[in-house]
């Protein structure tokens, strides 16, 4: 099956930035960008909930090659809570109301920039998975929490240097 290559992640970054989409990488794809060693199948994108942002996201997705019909466009523009897209060059989940994160602005304030990719802070990634409470998330939480501790320590070391 076709993979989801880094250059395609860059295309997301560039297309979303070009359309002014306010979003953050969440989930394991976000953790991977931060340096967490694991695997995932798709990119989970947390989008700020507003009609303007929904419209900008549709423009960006079409630019990326996603085929969206009128109903799908309408649902994304009105920021339907969870949208799974597998009708493009790669798989993307659009999350407008993730479990465990109250407000996009709060997550944005805490976010991390990784080579131009806006990524949720590890604490938000963890809180989201903890709140989702799925079997697979519960199994991965201890290692993700350990990574968060490692990552914080590395950041503190870099800032002191």
């Amino acid at each position: 099956m076709a993979g989801f290559e880094y250059r395609q992640a860059e295309e997301i970054r560039n297309a979303f930035a070009g359309q002014g989409v306010r979003y953050l990488f969440l989930g394991k794809s976000g953790a991977l960008l931060l340096g967490y060693p694991d695997t995932t199948q798709d990119a989970d994108l947390y989008l700020d909930r507003s009609p303007e942002n929904g419209r900008a996201a549709v423009l960006a997705l079409r630019q990326l090659g996603f085929t969206l019909d009128a109903q799908q466009v309408a649902e994304i523009e009105r920021c339907k809570d969870f949208v799974q897209l597998k009708n493009g060059p790669f798989d993307v989940d659009l999350v407008f109301a993730p479990d465990g994160i109250e407000q996009f602005e709060d997550a944005w304030r805490r976010h991390i920039d990784v080579e131009g990719f806006p990524v949720c802070h590890p604490d938000d990634i963890i809180n989201s998975k903890r709140a989702a409470n799925r079997q697979k998330d519960r199994e991965s939480l201890p290692r993700l929490e350990a990574f968060r501790d490692y990552w914080l320590k590395q950041r503190a070391t870099e800032e002191d240097a």
Partner: protein
């Protein structure tokens, strides 16, 4: 395999993995990490949408094989 509960000290095995990943360029981290394998039912539709995360979770529990791990604990 390290103890599942994270008590504060990072198991050596995990620490080695974190340090190895930290040395990789971001592109390599991504390319190593994005692995597509077929997930029954989940990958059988090109588009799905849900009015709420609760609705999505319930759909997963009702429709996905249990072994995929999408059910809530």
């Amino acid at each position: 395999m390290p103890d599942a509960a994270h008590s504060g000290e990072i198991p050596r095995e995990w620490l080695d993995e974190f340090e190895a990943a930290a040395r990789r360029p971001v592109a390599t981290r991504w390319n190593y990490g994005l692995v597509k394998t077929y997930k029954p039912v989940l990958d059988d539709a090109e588009y799905r949408s849900f009015e709420s995360m609760e609705e999505y979770r319930q759909w997963c529990e009702a429709n996905l094989p249990e072994w995929l791990g999408y059910g809530r604990v």
